[in-house]
Amino acid sequence: MEPHGKTTTMRAKNVKFAFKEFLHSVKPYWLPILLSVLLAVGSAVLGLFVPKLLGDMTNIAVDTYPNIDWGAVGSKAIMVIILFALSAVLQYAQAFVLAVVSANYTKDLREKIITKISNLPISYFDKHKFGDTLSRMTNDVDVLTTSMSQEIADISLSLTILIGVMIMMLTISVPLSLVSFVVVPISVLVVGGITNFAQKYFREQQNTLGTLNSKIEEDYAGIIIIKSNSYEKTASDSFNATNQKLAKAATRAQVFSSLSFPVTHVFTNLGYIAICILGGMFVIDGNLSIGSIQAFIQYVSRFNRPITEIASTTATIQSILAASERIFEFLSEKEETPDEDPAMEVAKVKGEVEFHDVDFSYDGKTPIIKHFSVKVKSGTNVAIVGPTGAGKTTVINLLMRFYEPTSGYITVDGVPINKMKRADVRQLFGMVLQDTWLFSGSVEENLKYGRKNASLKDIQEVAKFCNIEHIVEALPHGYNTMISEDSDNISAGEKQLLTIARAMVANPPMMILDEATSNVDTRTEHLIQDSFEKLTSGRTSFVIAHRLSTIRNADLILVMRDGEIVEQGNHNSLLKAGGFYADLYNSQFAEN
């Protein structure tokens, strides 16, 4: 009962789209699916004859009583055994076929999603949370595939049993069958109604649970603030109120969903009793044999399950549609424009970069970069400075072709980078970001990320050069130590050093650096600065600079404000000019 409620909290908005895409995606598997449906039908049909034959057995015994014809009874018994054994074999075969189909379908679906992730433009992820994409990969795929295989088996089985049971009952006694059939539509309607009603409460429960979970998350994250502001009582009160609401909603949801059980039970019992009474009358009148009524009763009790199951499929189908909509919506997102073909190349990289009147906007409305033009000679160290929101990071994103300019273009050694392959452009630059992302793997694997064929010796040399040798050696397993994005065996500053070394191993002709602003202790800071200098010397480099020393040592400072270069020059010339840069500088460093 519970899983149904959990998965149907969301409804598909565009049912037609969700359904069409889903059907399209299972199309390659139509043959095994059809096979499994046929197997299910076969298994159900074979199973249906079991009560009938058991009834025949009793009839033979009663008819030949007291000298029971054991030969005839025995042959019926053997038939029963063959039937249910065969039925079980078919049932297993269908489950197996379906399991393989759904496993492979799931695999393909995941594969499609991961491919999609690497084909989507970065801008997609500015607008969508990672958690959302992740839950499409995990939860939604899970819901879709498990409920799909479950539904295919259930519906085909239930329908077959329902129809088969009806036929068998009719062959035993038409009037008795009619009595039982009356129960069917009533109980389907009632159960369906209850399920729908329960859905409403399940949604309420899920929503309240969501609210409560975010409250917990928030309070735990801010526990210091709560304590130091004596806010515990208010926080508890608010928590308790939501918690109470949840308990109420959960009770209601649970009660309603479990209501369908006693209700169907009443209906089937009513049918059962009616059959006993009516059947009794028929037997007494001589219209029906005892064996038949026995068989009939068994059929009536088998009538119950498929009805409840069919009534509850609506809920599962809803959850399939909701999941399929989320998955296929993601899969049909617009991908990055393909690389030019044939693409241009930079034969021998000198490292001359030029921005030609570049404009950029994320949403097509608010301009972020305006008329950006600059020529950077080979080997120049460029520092980009300016207040938050001036567009510094965007310049770098454009250079790496994470985004494309709205107008204007960028050239490297005279070749426009939008005419080159993206991979080739990115090959030109080594990048060190503020966000010190490392993947789960060993230190060595992480350092080799930019050059797979680097030897351990290469890496050790770079490590020495980048001041991380002693850090790596202090780790429990040296270069084989496992680290990850959120591993805490190394500090933030050390992570930064690792990312610098990673860029160094790749040894690219140009460099892009985004200096971290904070949370690095002074000693590490010193090392980082030193490595930064080594990394940039002799290469064309772009640095989003926060440290004074970096800025002062730069060959060219680009002062940005609201998407434009307002000033450019070196430290001394800019200070003399007494403009925006001088202002910025004086507010921070000047003695009194």
Binding site: E2, F96, S230, A235, F261, P387, T522
Partner: protein
């Protein structure tokens, strides 16, 4: 798992009603086949229509009672389950709120959240199942057995055979599959991890042109998972066909034995049908029980994690009432304070002694791991000094009632923390009685007024959960405004300025000056520029105080301070500074 059952205690009478209702329901359900046997034996075979009608009537009554009791039972099991988990969740929440930093350090926030949410949900599911299924199954078993033996004692052995077959088949399948579940979970986690890394490292992956490499990694895990899944399914899917064979087999056996017994007693004609139904009931109950016991280990993991939290006793107990006479002006004093996380670990702070006066700024600087954050967390008693004394207004912090102490402190942590609500509700967080004017003034001091006024709704603008709809710098400024609005005697800035750009940092410190005339200001900082003007700077290195004094004094005599300054300023600037210091 069973330890948690004490949370059921307040609902004992509801559990009893549940038990009675379930018993009644099971009893009535089991009477139906007996009545039917009676109809066949005494009504149909004897051609007595009166018996048929009478028994039919009784059956109808039984069915009604069964439905009613079943409803009562599901109502109470739902209710007890929901309220049980409500209490459990509240208990964990209260516990976590009482934790000090040492306990918090042992668990990560994420893990505490999972324990309060997912783990409780797991337990709730198991409890509800237990209340509805587990109570019913043994009742069905016992009553079913009794009824079956009563109707046809000669056939009792069939029950034993049937139950044995069910239990053995479940156990065999599960022992083969269960160990694979752990591997399965690991692989699922791996897939999630790779996907997450591809998302969080989006730019790095692309910058290094490693899309293909990542894809290969994913495909390997994906293939492995698929293979394992097919293996598990291949065995798990045996369950249903096997159970069907067992059920059908027992029914056949019942008919066969029943027929062979007809010569002894013709009543076996009706009884064997009833008996077959009882056997099915009993086997069903065993099936449910065995499935339930398979779920227990999973619930046990959750229960264990919850118990761990509930068992953790808060290490710091605040006094019920504040003892001692406070000094007239605010002050913070450390006297030979040592601190270590546990008895066995190394000293994080070693012999710290200083006094911070009202109207003065005391700053702490040092590299990561020097203990500066730990030091200021001793003031609100988030950590407890291992030895030595921490005094606030001349009274030992151990003699304070919690809220009396907290009222004095305005804390701004390293990471700006906001709560869902409005800008105003966040600034008023520590001072519920603050007027709109107070709020605005606090925002101005914190250099937040400018961006707040640009927000849609201004001070009434919504803040999303965790403050995700404002930038890091804005978050930090709002959390500074929150501390300012509280008008505390002691300001504690735990590296609160480094998320701000230097210009804002400077302006903010200037604005703080006039409102901190009567307050102690403690600042932990990374940047020399932030603390240069402090009245007193404490330099820490590996938990020890290596210098205390003003910027100038320290420049002149403290080697470590010199190296810190040197790393942040250019050579020329450094020389200028040194010159100024020694002049």
């Amino acid at each position: 798992m069973f330890k948690l059952l004490r949370f059921l205690k307040p609902y004992w009478w509801q559990v009893i009603i549940l038990l009675v209702a379930t018993g009644a329901q099971v009893y009535t359900t089991l009477q139906l086949p007996a009545m039917m046997a009676d109809i066949i034996n005494n009504g149909i075979v004897a051609s007595d229509m009166d018996v048929v009608w009478r028994d039919g009537g009784i059956m109808l009554l039984l069915a009604m009672i069964s439905a009613l009791t079943s409803f009562v039972a599901s109502y109470f099991s739902a209710k007890v389950g929901a309220y049980f988990s409500r209490d459990l969740r509240a208990a964990i929440f209260q516990k976590v709120l009482s934790f000090n930093m040492t306990s918090l350090k042992n668990y990560s926030t994420a893990s505490l959240i999972t324990r309060t949410t997912n783990d409780v949900n797991q337990i709730q599911m198991i409890i509800t199942m237990m209340l509805s299924m587990l109570l019913r199954a043994p009742l069905f078993c016992v009553m079913g057995l009794v009824m079956a033996v009563q109707t046809a004692p000669e056939m009792s052995w069939i029950i034993v055979v049937g139950i044995a077959a069910v239990v053995i088949s479940v156990i065999v399948i599960m022992t083969v599959v269960a160990p694979k579940f752990k591997i399965f979970q690991n692989l699922v986690d791996k897939i999630t991890l790779i996907t997450r890394e591809n998302l969080t490292g989006l730019k790095v992956v692309r910058a290094f042109n490693n899309e293909k490499l990542e894809h290969k990694k994913f495909t390997r895990a994906n293939d492995e998972l698929t293979r394992l899944l097919i293996f598990i399914d291949r065995i798990l899917e045996l369950q249903n066909p096997l159970i069907n064979i067992i059920f059908n087999g027992t029914t056949l056996l019942c008919s066969w034995i029943g027929i062979s017994l007809l010569n002894q007693d013709f009543r076996y004609l009706g009884n064997m049908t009833a008996f077959a139904e009882y056997v099915t009931f009993v086997m069903m109950s065993f099936l449910m029980l065995s499935l339930f016991f398979i779920m227990i280990p999973r619930a046990n993991v959750s229960a264990g994690r919850i118990n761990e939290v509930l068992k953790t006793s808060p290490k710091i107990h605040y006094a019920k009432k504040t003892h001692g006479l406070p000094e007239k002006r605010a002050s913070v004093e450390f006297r030979k304070v040592d601190f270590r996380y546990s008895d066995t670990s190394e000293k994080v702070l070693d012999g710290i002694t200083f006094r911070a006066e009202a109207g003065k700024t005391t700053a702490f600087i040092g590299s990561t791991g020097s203990g500066k954050s730990t030091l200021i967390n001793l003031v609100p008693r988030f950590y407890e000094a291992t030895s030595g004394e921490v005094l606030v207004d001349g009274i030992n912090v151990k003699d304070y009632e919690k809220d009396d102490l907290m009222r004095k402190i305005g804390l701004v942590p390293q990471r700006g923390v906001l709560f869902a609500g409005t800008v105003k509700s966040n600034i008023k967080f520590g001072a519920p009685n603050a007027t709109s004017d107070d709020v605005r003034k606090a925002a101005e001091v914190a250099q937040a007024a400018g961006f707040i006024e640009k927000l849609p709704g201004g001070y009434d603008a919504r803040i999303a959960q965790g403050g995700t709809n404002v930038s890091g710098g804005q978050k930090q400024r709002l959390s500074i405004a929150r501390a300012v609005c509280k008008k505390p005697d002691i300001f504690v800035f735990d590296d609160a300025f480094s998320a701000l750009d230097m210009k804002t940092d400077a302006r903010l410190r200037a604005a703080l000056k006039p409102i901190t005339e009567d307050a102690v200001v403690l600042i932990v900082a990374q940047r020399v520029s932030t603390i240069k003007d402090a009245d007193q700077i404490v330099v820490l290195d590996k938990g020890r105080m290596v210098g205390k004094g003003t910027h100038r004094e320290l420049l002149a005599k403290c080697k470590i301070y010199q190296s810190i300054v040197k790393s942040q300023l250019s050579e020329a600037e450094f020389r200028k500074e040194m010159h100024g210091a020694t002049r």
